[in-house]
């Protein structure tokens, strides 16, 4: 059970990483327009080029 003393901090580090990633996504405007990207995926079967960022 003493492994928990290692695992728990490790998982917390992962969570911190996750939160950092989420913050980065929010700040780079990825949550500003939630509808258009979903639309693009649905209707572009032949176009595999990435769109302008």
């Amino acid at each position: 059970m003493s492994i928990l003393f290692v695992l728990v901090p490790l998982s917390l580090a992962l969570v911190a990483l996750g939160i950092w990633g989420f913050f980065w996504a929010v700040d780079s405007g990825q949550f500003d327009d939630m509808e258009s990207p979903a639309w693009e995926i649905l209707h572009e079967p032949h176009d595999s080029e990435p769109h302008s960022d």
Partner: protein
């Protein structure tokens, strides 16, 4: 072939135009649609037609002229908009006509294909396009022209402060949600470990217990001090105002719980730790706030609406030349040239003998208005006739248009807040809660001190009216989503509740009950004359005119070029075609050409506008034009009547036309020749009589009434200012959505009442239980969360149903577009 335009889905009418798409010909309704369709095909972007979910706006023809955008090539105007770094120029423009995400995709694609463009991103939700290009290859004018060619009108965005603020609110809210959500899940995880030992009756290893408690504290700290910050600042704010807001008991509970828990962690392993309750509490409160905020932030920006109506470039006459300047640079007494088909950039005194204007932006009636020398013309009017010069009398803030906008902003700011009464009630309730908590603490401290703290905490947590606060916004969100499916875009969520209490409806005529366009009702030709030839002659003569009558007549391909065209204001057009002179216009004007008698071939139908075509010898044809009633209008009126809602028409048009329309719809109460002030007065007298009034309109002249009505609906193709001042926008222009929206609002009111009842029952019912110590704090937090969830689930009953599996297949792809439509027009884009 199908009878609608391939590009914009408008009825084809008599148009014989075709666009060459790939290897086939498709029928289109006008030159603008043809140009855009061929552009899309030529660029290989036909996918747009498969992807899109909404008909696009009819491409503005004036946008296709190269001239319209050259002014933006001049550095002083471009510099104000463009940010440059090295060879890279960047601009953020507003775009008009975005109907759905496919439009955003199209604009991005068209721009990316332009040589020199580095990147183009269009945000359908805010209506902004962000473009980066190489300065050495392109100018701002080229970029704007490319957007216009795709069928969308770009404009310099107005003040974007409100949008920016909403965006930052949303981002901050998401960050808080992330921290509190993750924190809550982690702490719950540790709590489960600890509780499971307790449930089994086993003793957990002391080191492990201490470890879990410390780790819980570590994780709960950022949740408390970062995500919980709005709660604390809200509590302090309301306390400084000497009121007890909803945040006060919450903040108190949080501080007590967290403080006690931290103390217990360092005070050995005894005593309860409440980190799980604290984090869960903060998460659900943050979630509730986020929902409320996103519902609140759907309002339309009026400054954007104004920015769209007015041109940004004016032709100033300096010395002997005409210089393009930014409208912002105009001063009073400047001389400005306004060409045919252009919008007046400011109020001005007419310097020509006569001018023909379309003042529909202000009056709602598109019949051409004649103005004489010395009269003051309004900025925003469209010049239908020959180029005119005006002397500027009022610019920007002082113009008539800006004045109307100011009135609107004031009206919007004064919209009654429904929560005013609710705020007062909650203050009393919360004060009572605080008193109850203090009593609980005091009594328990006397009876059995060890139970005082948990009981007090439970009282504070259980009494938090979170579910109560979510009751309304959750139902409103669901109703808004359902209304979007019906084609109604809600921009003022407060209006939904009022919609259920409507007992009187006012309709504008032109553009609301009718389509707003003149259409050919009847064509009578003289003996021996070919009707088709007459139509083509009429189309050729009217081809260069912007007059609304011309639009109805000019839908056929001209047979031959017309020479010696002369426009007589208020009368008609004369021209030569194939060596013969013709006149088309009022019967009097046409009659002057042949023998002076006023002649029509037959008595015109009541309410029609009569246009006569004649040559040098006789009258050739008589065209009768009428504004068509919308499909389903009579049914809508009778459906409203069955719901107990009386309807009436208020219009600026003539009484005879209004009477005929009223009879067709079944509306007996009609008032014609109404100015905007008169319409407003009528509305206010109805309101003073105690009626709750619903207003439907589309023009700027309707805007003050739309803002003052209890609930207002603007037509999807109405002016941007009408959109900004209305509570809802009818995107599909299908009047049948109005009775449906009414029914939905009544259902919503029922569900809100149910929600309020249950959440109040929970609060009041569990308060005594918590005070008596039957509810441990974690159960209190769970109960509060559960009641919030219950309220939200009840609200989802308002969402649109999918009745069978076959429909589900279609609907699944509808949903993104419907939400996109509602978001895309949030800034009042559709016009």
């Amino acid at each position: 072939m199908n009878a609608t335009c391939f590009h914009c889905s408008e009825p084809l009418g008599k148009s014989a135009l075709v666009a060459r798409i790939g290897d086939r010909d498709e029928s289109v309704c006008c030159a603008g649609c043809r140009a855009v369709a061929e552009l899309i095909a030529g660029a290989g972007l036909e996918q747009y037609y498969e992807m899109r979910s909404e008909r696009p706006a009819r491409p503005p023809i004036s946008g296709l002229e190269a001239d319209a955008w050259t002014a933006y090539a001049r550095s002083e105007i471009a510099d104000a908009l463009v940010v440059g770094q090295g060879d890279l120029d960047t601009v953020t423009l507003g775009v008009e006509g975005l109907r759905c995400s496919a439009c955003a995709w199209l604009i991005d694609k068209v721009l990316s294909q332009l040589e020199g463009v580095v990147s183009a991103t269009t945000n359908a939700a805010t209506g902004r396009v962000h473009v980066e290009w190489q300065r050495s290859v392109l100018t701002l004018a080229d970029v704007m022209r490319a957007i216009a060619r795709a069928g969308y009108r770009p404009f310099p965005p107005g003040d974007s402060r409100v949008l920016d603020q909403q965006q930052s609110e949303r981002r901050v809210g998401l960050r808080h949600l992330a921290v509190s959500g993750f924190g809550m899940m982690q702490v719950m995880m540790f709590a489960v470990a600890v509780y499971s030992a307790q449930l089994q009756g086993d003793a957990i290893e002391p080191r492990l217990l201490e470890f879990f408690r410390m780790v819980s504290m570590l994780v709960a700290a950022p949740v408390m001090f970062y995500a919980g910050l709005p709660i604390f600042s809200g509590a302090l704010r309301s306390l400084s105002r000497r009121t007890v807001g909803m945040d006060v008991p919450v903040a108190l509970a949080l501080v007590l719980a967290f403080g006690a828990s931290v103390y217990n962690v360092f005070d050995g392993n005894t005593g309860e730790v409440y980190f799980d309750s604290v984090t869960m509490f903060i998460f659900f409160v943050t979630l509730g706030r986020y929902i409320q905020m996103s519902v609140r932030n759907r309002t339309t920006s009026i400054t954007d609406a104004l920015a769209k109506q007015m041109p940004s470039v004016a032709h100033r006459i300096q010395e002997n030349s005409c210089v393009d300047v930014a409208v912002a640079a105009l001063a009073v007494d400047d001389l400005v040239l306004v060409r045919r088909g252009e919008v007046l950039p400011a109020d001005g005194e007419l310097l020509e003998a006569v001018a023909q204007l379309d003042e529909s932006l202000l009056s709602g009636e598109s019949a051409a208005v004649r103005r004489g020398r010395g009269e003051t013309l309004s900025g925003g009017s469209l010049n239908l006739g020959d180029p005119i010069r005006i002397k500027v009398t009022a610019i920007a803030q002082a113009s008539v248009l800006a004045h109307v906008v100011t009135l609107l902003e004031k009206a919007q700011a004064q919209r009654p807040r429904i929560s005013a009464a609710a705020d007062k009630a909650s203050t009393h309730f919360l004060s009572a809660v605080l008193i109850a908590a203090t009593l609980t603490a005091a009594i328990w401290a006397w009876l059995d001190p060890s139970r005082a703290f948990p009981a007090t905490l439970a009282v504070l947590v259980v009494a938090c009216p979170c579910a109560f606060a979510i009751a309304m916004p959750a139902a409103v969100s669901a109703a808004i989503a359902h209304l979007a499916r019906l084609g109604v875009l809600v921009t003022n969520p407060n209006a939904l509740e009022k919609l259920a209490e409507i007992d009187h409806a006012i309709f504008d005529k032109t553009g609301t009950l009718t389509r707003g366009e003149l259409q050919m009702q009847r064509c009578i030709v003289a003996e021996g004359v070919d009707e088709l030839q007459c139509r083509q002659i009429a189309a050729s003569l009217e081809a260069s005119s912007e007059h609304p009558i011309a639009r109805a007549l000019a839908d056929l391909t001209p047979i031959a070029p017309v020479s010696n065209v002369r426009t007589v204001v208020g009368a008609g057009i004369e021209g030569e075609l194939a060596q013969r002179r013709y006149r088309i216009g009022t019967p009097e004007f046409a009659a002057e050409m042949h023998n002076g008698f006023v002649r029509t071939l037959a008595d015109p139908q009541a309410g029609s506008t009569v246009v006569v075509l004649s040559d040098e010898h006789r009258v050739l044809a008589q065209f009768e034009l009428q504004d068509q009633l919308r499909d389903g209008a009579p049914e809508t009126i009778s459906a409203l009547r069955e719901s107990g809602i009386a309807s009436e028409i208020l219009s600026g048009d003539r009484q005879s036309v209004v009477d005929i329309l009223g009879e067709r719809c079944g509306i007996s109460q009609r008032l014609a020749r109404q100015s905007p002030e008169q319409k407003l007065a009528r509305l206010q007298s109805l309101q003073q009589q105690g009626h709750r009034v619903l207003m439907l309109g589309d023009g700027i002249n309707d805007a003050p009434v739309l803002a003052a009505a209890d609930v207002s609906i603007a037509m999807g193709r109405g002016t941007a200012l009408a959109h900004a001042s209305a509570d809802m926008i009818l995107m599909t222009e299908d009047l049948a959505a109005v009775p449906a929206a009414l029914q939905l609002s009544q259902r919503m009111r029922r569900i809100v009442r149910q929600n309020l009842f249950w959440s109040a029952a929970y609060n009041f019912g569990s308060l005594p239980l918590a005070a008596l110590g039957f509810i441990p704090p974690w159960l209190a937090a769970v109960g509060m969360s559960a009641s919030s969830v219950l309220v939200v689930l009840n609200a989802t009953r308002l969402l649109p149903r999918r009745s069978n599996a076959a429909q589900v297949q279609i609907r699944a792809t509808d949903i993104p577009s419907i939400i996109a439509t509602s978001r895309a027009a949030t800034a009042g884009l559709a016009s």
